[in-house]
Amino acid sequence: IQAFRVFQNELDNRNDRNERIVKLSRDITIESKRIIFTLQRCVGSENKEDVLNEAKVKFKELHESKFFPLALELEGQDPYQYLKAFSPGLQEYVEAITFFHYVSGGNLVDIERVQSDLTFPLKTLQSSEVKTPTQSTVIDKEHDASHPINDESSQTKSQVIIPIPPSEYMLGVADFTGELMRMAINCVGARDLETPSVVLDLMRVINSAFTNFGNIPRELRQKTRVLTQSLQKVERACYTLRV
């Protein structure tokens, strides 16, 4: 019976942490959706720069107020144990940040870049005003060093990260093509004749890469189907513009 009190404690801790992570993930999803909405507005508008700057500020706040606490929660844990809890938020964020980079610069951002945004030096932020219940226990603990996409961080003890499993990144990219599609359709409405065919080129590249993947997990295969449908919608849009 005494053993069961220990088990109870362990189960409760795990559930509590899971609850906190789900909540952070939900907040991240909502804020990411807002940013995407903002970015869609800027297509074809004159004050594109203003909108991009506004988005930049929102991303920064999102990093500090949500992702940093999330990183602290995951610190010293097996991130895959809580992946289901933070995966929706992370995917929505990847969708938002890739869309942002596309709108501002023009190409598909890679996972290393996304990962670096979600890596937080502890020293600097520690003194800032961010507070979470577990923060005090985290400092100086070594981060899970063996995560494959983050090998180079293995020596540093002074940072925490949200590890991004490559599949999560790709799922976010798949969702991003949905935004591209929406953007292209909006352009047709606005009689913008050029953007759709530019977008179409990028979508063809991504679609071609996705349909070429082997050993693909089921979730990604479903999104590939949606991606192909989005591509055909854009093709139809280009056709309509031509006719």
């Binding site: 080129d201 063809r204 349909t211 070429n212 082997g214 050993n215 093709e235 139809r236 056709y239 006719v243």
Partner: protein, 210 residues
């Protein structure tokens, strides 16, 4: 002992399926590579050099034939349908791709016989490892929806003659399929999609007329 024999049977079955799965994975990988090449036909810039894309794709079919020959070597006579769920999907895709090449080059339907030859398999069950008729027909139905998409993209690329030819071709295929007495199965479902392809092509032709 009865149960020992059965365990041996299960193990052998499992190992064979693992081997089949491994070959099929390679087969599907090659199919994806061919598809990636042929997807470029939708790009406006490639509208003219379809032939060169076809040639490029054709070279990969030697790999396909190798995969099928190593697959055929694994399947005992009379056991094709014990395992064909494994390669059904890949075969349908390869039928579609080889028939697409034939259409792009000669604007006609690839027969079951020549498709079997391109894939390196037999046409009929009695001859050995063959193309199941359902899979051949399924592949052809996949072809029609690809072509109806091409009809639209051809217009975008400024080619106004291709849609007319495609529309006629799909119309003929539609007549052919209407002759078949399909049961309520996958093929029937997919055939219902053909009506949509026909309509889509006719709309493109109509839009061009206006």
């Amino acid at each position: 002992k009865i149960f020992k024999d059965f365990q041996d049977y299960l193990n052998a079955d499992h190992d064979l399926r693992e081997e089949i799965r491994s070959v099929v994975r390679d087969l599907e990988q090659t199919a994806r590579e061919i598809q990636t090449i042929l997807q470029a036909i939708h790009q406006p810039s490639n509208a003219s050099n379809a032939t060169s894309l076809c040639d490029q794709a054709t070279t990969h079919f030697s790999k396909v034939r190798e995969h099928y020959s190593s697959l055929a070597a694994k399947i005992l006579e009379g056991q094709y349908y014990r395992f064909n769920d494994h390669w059904k999907f890949g075969t349908q895709r390869l039928v579609y791709l080889s028939a697409l090449i034939v259409y792009l080059k000669e604007e006609r339907l690839a027969s079951r016989e020549e498709t079997a030859e391109t894939l390196g398999v037999k046409t009929k069950r009695e001859e050995g490892f063959h193309i199941d008729l359902d899979d051949y027909l399924m592949g052809i139905l996949n072809l029609t929806s690809e072509l109806s998409r091409l009809a639209m993209n051809a217009v975008t690329a400024g080619d106004y003659s291709k849609p007319l030819k495609i529309s006629k071709f799909i119309g003929e295929l539609d007549s052919g399929f209407r002759l078949l007495n399909l049961k309520n199965d996958h093929l029937r479902k997919r055939f219902d999609g053909l009506k949509y392809d026909v309509k889509r092509c006719e709309e493109v032709v109509y839009d061009l007329t206006i």
